[in-house]
């Protein structure tokens, strides 16, 4: 079993400014695993999708808190959870289908497809009226060992 080497929590209001704040902050945290630029860019994109969904869908009628937690493991495994207490999703399978959207003409319905293809694993747990938790997982390839972490 790989050891946890670091862990963090980040809570913020569902203001759209925080889309860039959240992806930059998580990327800075994950950087200690020495990811490639491409790996980091994949993670930033997936975080941006999940946080945006909480802002535009979960809290569409107001402002609420978004909770991110992340764990890093010694084997490069990276877990990032994005949770909201918003409206929830009635049918998760349908929501995750590419091009499905309830968001109108400026949304493409690609957010979940992006998370799926840019990360190694995604799990979505949602309860209507209670909120949604998206768990993203990616293995950062370890290219150096024993460098003092």
């Amino acid at each position: 079993m790989a050891d946890i080497i670091n862990e963090m929590n980040l809570n913020f209001l569902s203001r759209s400014y925080n889309e860039s704040f959240a992806r930059a902050t998580v990327a800075a945290f994950v950087s200690q695993l020495d990811p490639t630029i491409d790996e980091l860019s994949d993670i930033k994109t997936a975080i941006s999708e999940a946080v945006t969904n909480s802002i535009v869908h979960a809290y569409k009628n107001g402002i609420g808190m978004i909770y991110i937690s992340s764990k890093l493991y010694s084997n490069g495994r990276t877990i990032i959870k994005i949770r909201d207490k918003g409206c929830g999703i009635e049918n998760v399978n349908q929501a995750m289908e590419p091009l499905f959207t309830t968001g109108g003409s400026e949304r493409s319905g690609l957010g979940f497809a992006v998370m799926q293809s840019f990360m190694d694993k995604i799990k979505v747990v949602s309860k209507p009226g209670k909120g949604t938790t998206v768990t993203l997982e990616k293995y950062i390839i370890r290219r150096s060992v024993g460098n003092g972490r």
């Binding site: 802002i55 003409s105 400026e106 493409s108 690609l110």
Partner: protein, 101 residues
């Protein structure tokens, strides 16, 4: 300002800069649409060279402007897509529209 626009003889070129996400896309969309509706160009070029990052909001931005140009009988071209955005563009299926250079 993350949007710069030049216009010449029915051709409007929009130069975007920075990150495209749901937050920044709003201002980009409003600026583009205002200018397109004002001068009804035959061709709208959107230059992505200086875009560092984009999520699916960028795809929504392109789709929306594609529809807008269609509705006024004009064409749209997306130019100078950097390598770093290719994964997102490929996944979107937008390539089929034939609007990329």
């Amino acid at each position: 300002m993350a949007v710069r626009i030049s216009s010449n003889d029915g051709v409007m070129t929009v130069f975007l800069e920075g990150d495209i996400d749901h937050h920044t896309a709003k201002e980009m969309r409003e600026t583009i649409d205002l200018n397109v509706n004002k001068s009804n160009p035959n061709l709208l070029n959107i230059d992505f060279e200086k875009i560092q990052f984009m999520d699916s909001s960028g795809i929504g931005l392109i789709m929306g402007r594609y529809k807008l140009m269609n509705s006024i009988g004009g064409k749209i071209k997306i130019i100078n897509i950097p390598n770093r955005l290719e994964k997102m563009i490929k996944l979107s299926g937008l390539i089929q529209l034939g609007i990329f250079e």
